[in-house]
């Protein structure tokens, strides 16, 4: 029983990592109806930028803000530079370009900052909560995730540009007919996704340590969380991410023989099973429509 509770708390702590990343994934999905396979690498690269700024002596929160701003700009630049030319290319070609970006960022980060792991500071201090099951940083990460979630809600719900982005994503042709510059909305989506990714990266790095491959597997868990929660729902993404963390821990602890060796496959299996029953995820929106 004690172990069960410990594993759940520890699962929430790990799940916060996935939830963070899942938010960035949902964001880009809103903008381009796609999973961006380079998202994790972009977040990793942003985190390295932050690390570099810190190494140059920039105070933490200033480095934080600068990194988010740079990542936002970087996301927009990538969209305008790379994907705008591919507007009419088939979707699968876009996926291939994601893969190309993945390779580029991974390789560049290794080239510039090498592959050794680097400690990344936490703004929330060190120590132990709940008997060490959760560090103050992990608790702080959950708070930051919820904060980002709230900001997103406000942005999409109450701002004109948020509304325009939702419209552009839902129906680009109609959006153009009301004068929305759909291309820029997509670029803005990229910018926001990569800014959120940067936040995620800076929150994740203190836990798993910074290195060029840090996001490769976290991205998959993030995908799983986002899909489980429903790709159209930021709240769902956070819940999905936390759920993946818990499921994974329980599978590893309680499934005999194969459990510890197959934590990830078991978690994926659970998710696919959920999807078979609820194809749009736990909180994904079904679009009601009368014909």
């Amino acid at each position: 029983m004690e172990i069960l509770i410990q594993q759940i708390v520890s699962g929430v702590a790990t799940g916060a990592i996935y939830a963070c990343m899942a938010l960035a994934i949902v964001m880009i999905y809103q903008a381009i109806h796609h999973l961006n396979f380079a998202q994790g690498e972009m977040a990793m690269f942003s985190t390295f930028v932050a690390w570099q700024l810190l190494a140059w002596g920039v105070p933490y929160w200033l480095a934080f803000v600068l990194t988010v701003a740079l990542s936002f700009a970087g996301g927009i630049v990538i969209e305008r530079l790379v994907f705008r030319r591919l507007e009419n290319a088939p979707v699968l070609s876009h996926v291939v370009v994601f893969i190309a970006l993945f390779a580029i960022f991974n390789s560049l980060a290794g080239f510039i900052w090498n592959f050794e792991i680097k400690p990344f500071p936490s703004p929330f201090g060190s120590g132990a909560l709940f008997g060490g099951l959760m560090s103050p940083h992990q608790a702080g990460m959950i708070v930051v995730t919820l904060l980002v979630l709230a900001l997103l809600y406000v942005f999409f719900r109450f701002t004109r540009i948020g509304l325009a982005m939702r419209a552009a994503a839902a129906n680009p042709e109609s959006a153009r007919l009301v004068g929305i510059r759909v291309g820029w909305m997509t670029a803005l989506g990229w910018g926001m996704a990569s800014a959120i990714g940067a936040v995620a990266g800076m929150m994740i790095a203190p836990v798993v340590f910074l290195e060029p491959n840090m996001m490769v597997s976290i991205l998959l868990y993030g995908f799983a969380g986002a899909v489980l929660g429903g790709l159209t729902s930021p709240v769902g993404a956070v819940i999905g991410g936390l759920a993946v963390g818990i499921i994974e821990n329980l599978a590893g602890t309680y499934i005999p023989v194969v459990g510890p060796e197959l934590k990830l496959p078991v978690a994926l299996f659970v998710i696919v099973a959920v999807l078979v029953v609820r194809p749009s995820g736990l909180l994904g929106r079904k679009i009601v429509q009368r014909v």
């Binding site: 509304l163 042709e173 109609s174 009301v178 004068g179 759909v182 679009i287 009368r290």
Partner: protein, 237 residues
């Protein structure tokens, strides 16, 4: 008087198939022009080409400005509102959000609320359903929403693509009554594409008949309405 919109040699094609073969026509400021023709004559394509939604060639001037190379969103920003075929509803947004989107390209935010109120004046049904997801509206309500959204732009020219399509006759009458009212109160010019020639000609001042991508007949609405041979040959009633 100088026309609001003038079109010369407008061509457009889908792949190898040429759908518009050099259209020439004009639309007068403040008037309603009907574009009639059988299925596949190129009516919808004409509207889409005017708005830059498909590749096209030829010359189009709006209020003296060339727009034949401009992008859709820039054309819209000049004051051309397109009520598209299928109504272009944002299904998962609320009715009110749909209306607000219509004013998206106008800088003055303050007037938006007033305009929304005015639209609700035209379409009380929409007001009742303002918090509802637009996808749950009936066909007639969606058509009203589409017209309302277009009006939120405070357009100088409205392009209407078959507003009667798929609606019950009573609803069609209501829609056209509202269009007539709008025309009076807001001084909007309209280019109306319709299969239902009867309704269209009742509203229009001027009409063009389109046949396989070319203009076959042009004249005042009254002339066409009264010309039995044209009615028989093109309009089938």
């Amino acid at each position: 008087m100088k026309p609001l919109l003038s079109v010369r040699g407008l061509e457009a094609s889908y792949g190898d198939l040429k759908v518009l073969r050099g259209l020439d026509f004009t639309i007068a400021e403040g008037g309603v022009t009907a574009l009639l023709g059988a299925n596949g004559a190129g009516k919808t394509t004409t509207l889409r080409a005017l708005c830059g939604m498909i590749p096209r060639s030829g010359e189009v001037e709006f209020d003296g400005r060339p727009i034949s190379r401009a992008r859709t969103e820039d054309i819209v920003r000049l004051g051309i509102a397109h009520v598209p075929e299928g109504r272009g509803t944002f299904f998962n947004l609320t009715v009110e959000e749909n209306l607000e989107l219509g004013a998206m390209s106008r800088p003055a935010r303050r007037e938006v609320a007033d305009d929304v109120a005015r639209i609700y004046g035209y379409f009380p049904r929409l007001k009742e359903r303002r918090r509802q997801q637009a996808g749950t509206l009936s066909g007639g309500e969606q058509q009203m929403l589409a017209i309302g959204r277009a009006l939120m732009l405070r357009p100088r020219l409205m392009l209407l693509d078959e507003p009667s399509f798929g609606l019950a006759p009573l609803v069609v009458e209501e829609v056209f009554r509202i269009l007539a009212h709008v025309r009076e109160t807001m001084k909007v010019s309209m280019l109306l594409v319709e299969q239902n020639a009867n309704f269209a000609l009742s509203l229009a001042d001027h009409a063009y008949l389109l046949e396989t991508g070319e203009i076959a007949v042009a004249g005042s609405a009254e002339e066409i309405r009264n010309d039995e041979s044209i009615r028989n040959a093109y309009l089938g009633y």
